[in-house]
C-alpha cells in the first residue's frame, strides 16, 4: 500500500511495557501512511497510546515490533550513526511548554543546541544569526534571546519548542498535544502559526490530540485510537460527516458545543476504560459499546476499508 509520495509509513507498530502487573499493551498493531505535506491527526483519550505512538516513531521509545518506513527506509533497525542523520529529518513538539525546555538554558541556547550537536554552524556569529532567523520564523521577539523559560508565558515557551523543532530543517514533525496546555486564545495563535509554517516550509505533521475540534481544523486525515489500536481512519471531512465506529460517534457526541442552537444527540458511554494490561481477546471497546454482542468479545476486529479511504475496525459495521 505504499504510495509513491508517502513520507512516512508505519506497519504493525507495537510497543509493550513490562509492568509488575503484567504486559502493558500501549500500542498494539498500528498502521498508517502520511503523504508529504499533509497532516495526519491522531485522536484519542488518555491511555489510548497516541503519545506512545508518536514517540515510538521517533524511536524515543524503542518499538517492540513493527516497521517504520521513512522515505522508504526502515528506521527501526538503524544504527546510532544512521539514526543521527534521520533525526535531522524527524522532529517533535511536546505538550508541556514548561517541562520540555531545560530551565537552566536560555532561549537562544535551547534553539541553537540542535545546530551545535549536528555541527551545522561554524562560528558563534553564524549560530546567533541562525537562531535569530528561527525566532523570527516563529514570531518570537529578538529581545528574548537571553531570557529563561520560566520568565515567559506558555504561548511563548511553546514557540521556543517549535523553533527548536525547526532548527534542523526537518521534513516531518510529530506534534504531541502542542496546544493542550495553553489558554484558548493562545491556542488559536499557535495553531495559526503552525498552519503558516506548514505552508511556508512544506512540512508534514502528525498531530496528536484529544481535542477533536482542534484536529478537524488542522488535519487532512484523522485516525482514532482506543486502547492501543486504531479503530477508525478517514479523511477529516469524512470522519466528522459520517463517523462509523461506535467509539468515534460517542467521542464526537461528547464534545460540549459552544452553541445553544446546535444540539448533538449524545451517546453516553457506560463505565470506564478497560485496562491495557494483558488485554483479553476480542474487541477492546466491547465492554462499553452500546452495539456490542457476544461475537465482539471473541475475535479482534480488523481495520477494513468500508468506503473509499474510510477504514473502520468493528464487527458491527
Amino acid at each position: 500500500m505504499a504510495a509513491s509520495n508517502a513520507l512516512l509509513e508505519v506497519r504493525g507498530l507495537k510497543k509493550h511495557f513490562k509492568t509488575p502487573k503484567g504486559l502493558l499493551h500501549a500500542v498494539d498493531g498500528v498502521n498508517f501512511t502520511i503523504e508529504k505535506g499533509r497532516t495526519l491527526g491522531i485522536v484519542g483519550e488518555s491511555g489510548c497510546g497516541k503519545s506512545t505512538t508518536g514517540r515510538a516513531i521517533l524511536r524515543l521509545h524503542e518499538p517492540t515490533a513493527g516497521e517504520i518506513l521513512f522515505e522508504g527506509k526502515n528506521i527501526v533497525d538503524m544504527s546510532k550513526q544512521e539514526m543521527q542523520k534521520i533525526r535531522r529529518e524527524m522532529q517533535i513538539i511536546f505538550q508541556d511548554p514548561f517541562a520540555s525546555l531545560n530551565p537552566r538554558m536560555t532561549v537562544s541556547e535551547i534553539i541553537g543546541e540542535p545546530l551545535l550537536i549536528h555541527k551545522l554552524v561554524s562560528s558563534k556569529e553564524e549560530l546567533e544569526k541562525k537562531v535569530e532567523e528561527l525566532m523570527t520564523l516563529v514570531g518570537l521577539s529578538e529581545r528574548l534571546l537571553n531570557a529563561y523559560p520560566h520568565e515567559l508565558d506558555g504561548g511563548r515557551r511553546q514557540r521556543i519548542g517549535i523553533a527548536r523543532a525547526l532548527a534542523l530543517n526537518p521534513k516531518f514533525i510529530v506534534c504531541d498535544e502542542p496546544v493542550s496546555a495553553l489558554d484558548v486564545s493562545i491556542q488559536a495563535q499557535v495553531l495559526n502559526l503552525m498552519q503558516d509554517l506548514q505552508e511556508e516550509l512544506g512540512l508534514t505533521f502528525m498531530f496528536i490530540t484529544h481535542d477533536l475540534s482542534v484536529v478537524k481544523h488542522f488535519s487532512d486525515d484523522i485516525g482514532v485510537m482506543y486502547l492501543g489500536q486504531m479503530v477508525e481512519k478517514a479523511a477529516s471531512k469524512d470522519l466528522f460527516a459520517d463517523p462509523l465506529h461506535p467509539y468515534t460517534k460517542a467521542l464526537l457526541s461528547a464534545i460540549p458545543v459552544p452553541s445553544l442552537t446546535h444540539k448533538r444527540e449524545r451517546v453516553t458511554l457506560e463505565g470506564e476504560i478497560t485496562s491495557p494490561i494483558n488485554p483479553a481477546p476480542g474487541c477492546r471497546f466491547a465492554a462499553r459499546c452500546p452495539l456490542a454482542n457476544d461475537s465482539c468479545k471473541k475475535a479482534d476486529p480488523e481495520l477494513r476499508e468500508v468506503k473509499p479511504g474510510h477504514f473502520v475496525a468493528c464487527h458491527m459495521v
Partner: protein, 303 residues
C-alpha cells in the same frame, strides 16, 4: 491546564532591555538568600574565616610567630601583645588559629570537592543508566556506608601516613557514598522529564545529556549538602588531629590545638577554649548558610 500559563512572570516588552543582559537564575537565588538574615550572618562569618585563610601569612608570619616556641611566655592569658594569649609552647594562639583556618578550609573544600567529583559522577551514571549498573554502583556505596566514616578515614590515614594530603583523601573518600546517593536521587527525578526526551530527539548523546542537561539541574541539593559537608569535613579533621592522626605538629590545626591544651584545662583553659569556639562558630556558620541555601534554591526546584 491553568497552572502552566500562569507560572510565568511575563517579560515586559515595553521596558527597554539590553539584548545581551543575562538575567541569571543564580542572581535570583542570591536575591532570595540575601533576605535570610541568619544565612547572611553565616555567610559573613565564613567570609571572615576565608579572609583569614587567604591572608594568613600577612597577618602572622609562619616561621617567626606561628611555630616558633617561646617558653618564657608560656600559657599567658589574652593581652595586648597576644590577643588571645599563648599556648603551652608560648606561641601566639591568634596567629595559630588564623593559619589553622587555612588548613581547615583547605581540607574542607578539597575533601568535599573530591567527594562530589567521584560520588557525583558515580551517582549520575547509576541514576541515568539504571538497571544492573545502578545496582552494582549503589551496592558498592552501601558497603562503604556501612563503615562509620570516621573509622574509614582513620583506616586510610593509618595506611597512607598522616599528612595534609592524605587527610583530604581520607575524608573525601569516606564522603563519596552520600553524594552518590544524593546525585542519583536528583538524576532519577530529572531523567524522566520532557526536556531530556527533547534533547534525545534533537540527537544529543548520553554524555551531552548528562553533562549539559541533567547535572546543571541536579546541583541544588548537592550544593546544600556540600555546605554542610565542609562543616563535617572540618569536624572530622579536628577529630582526627585531636587523636594524632591528622596534621602533625608543629603545624597549627584547630583540633590539634584542642588536643594540646587538654592537659592544661584547669589553669589555662583559653588554650582549648579558643580553638574550640572557632570550630563551633565555623560549623554553625556553615549550617546557617546551608539552611539558607536550601530555602533559596527550593522554590527553583518546585517550579
Amino acid at each position: 491546564m491553568s497552572s502552566v500559563s500562569n507560572a510565568a512572570k511575563p517579560v515586559d516588552l515595553d521596558k527597554p532591555k539590553a539584548k545581551n543582559k543575562k538575567r541569571s537564575q543564580w542572581a535570583e537565588v542570591w536575591r532570595r538568600l540575601k533576605k535570610n538574615k541568619m544565612a547572611m550572618v553565616g555567610l559573613a562569618i565564613i567570609g571572615a574565616i576565608v579572609f583569614c585563610a587567604i591572608f594568613a601569612d600577612v597577618i602572622a608570619d609562619y616561621d617567626s610567630v606561628v611555630i616558633k616556641q617561646n617558653l618564657k611566655a608560656r600559657m599567658e592569658g589574652p593581652s595586648a601583645e597576644h590577643i588571645l594569649g599563648t599556648d603551652e609552647f608560648g606561641r601566639d594562639i591568634f596567629a595559630r588559629m588564623v593559619h589553622g583556618a587555612r588548613v581547615s578550609l583547605q581540607v574542607g573544600l578539597i575533601a568535599v570537592g573530591l567527594a562530589i567529583g567521584i560520588g557525583g559522577s558515580l551517582g549520575a551514571i547509576a541514576g541515568y543508566y539504571g538497571g544492573r549498573l545502578d545496582n552494582i554502583i549503589m551496592r558498592c556505596m552501601d558497603v562503604f556506608l556501612a563503615i562509620p566514616s570516621i573509622l574509614l578515614a582513620i583506616a586510610i590515614v593509618s595506611a597512607l601516613g598522616p599528612s595534609l594530603f592524605n587527610l583530604m583523601l581520607a575524608i573525601g573518600i569516606s564522603s563519596v557514598p552520600s553524594y552518590a546517593r544524593i546525585v542519583r536521587a536528583s538524576v532519577l527525578s530529572i531523567r524522566d522529564q520532557e526536556f531530556i526526551e527533547a534533547a534525545r530527539a534533537i540527537g544529543a548523546n548520553d554524555f551531552r545529556i548528562i553533562t549539559k542537561h541533567i547535572i546543571p539541574n541536579a546541583l541544588a541539593p548537592v550544593i546544600v549538602q556540600a555546605t554542610l559537608g565542609v562543616a563535617g569535613a572540618i569536624l572530622s579533621t579536628a577529630g582526627l588531629s585531636f587523636i594524632g592522626m591528622g596534621i602533625q605538629p608543629p603545624a597549627p590545626e584547630w583540633g590539634a590545638m584542642l588536643s594540646g591544651g587538654r592537659q592544661y584545662l584547669r589553669y589555662a583553659a583559653h588554650i582549648t577554649a579558643f580553638p574550640g569556639v572557632a570550630i563551633m562558630i565555623t560549623i554553625l556558620a556553615l549550617n546557617l548558610l546551608g539552611d539558607g541555601l536550601r530555602d533559596a534554591l527550593d522554590p527553583r526546584l518546585k517550579s
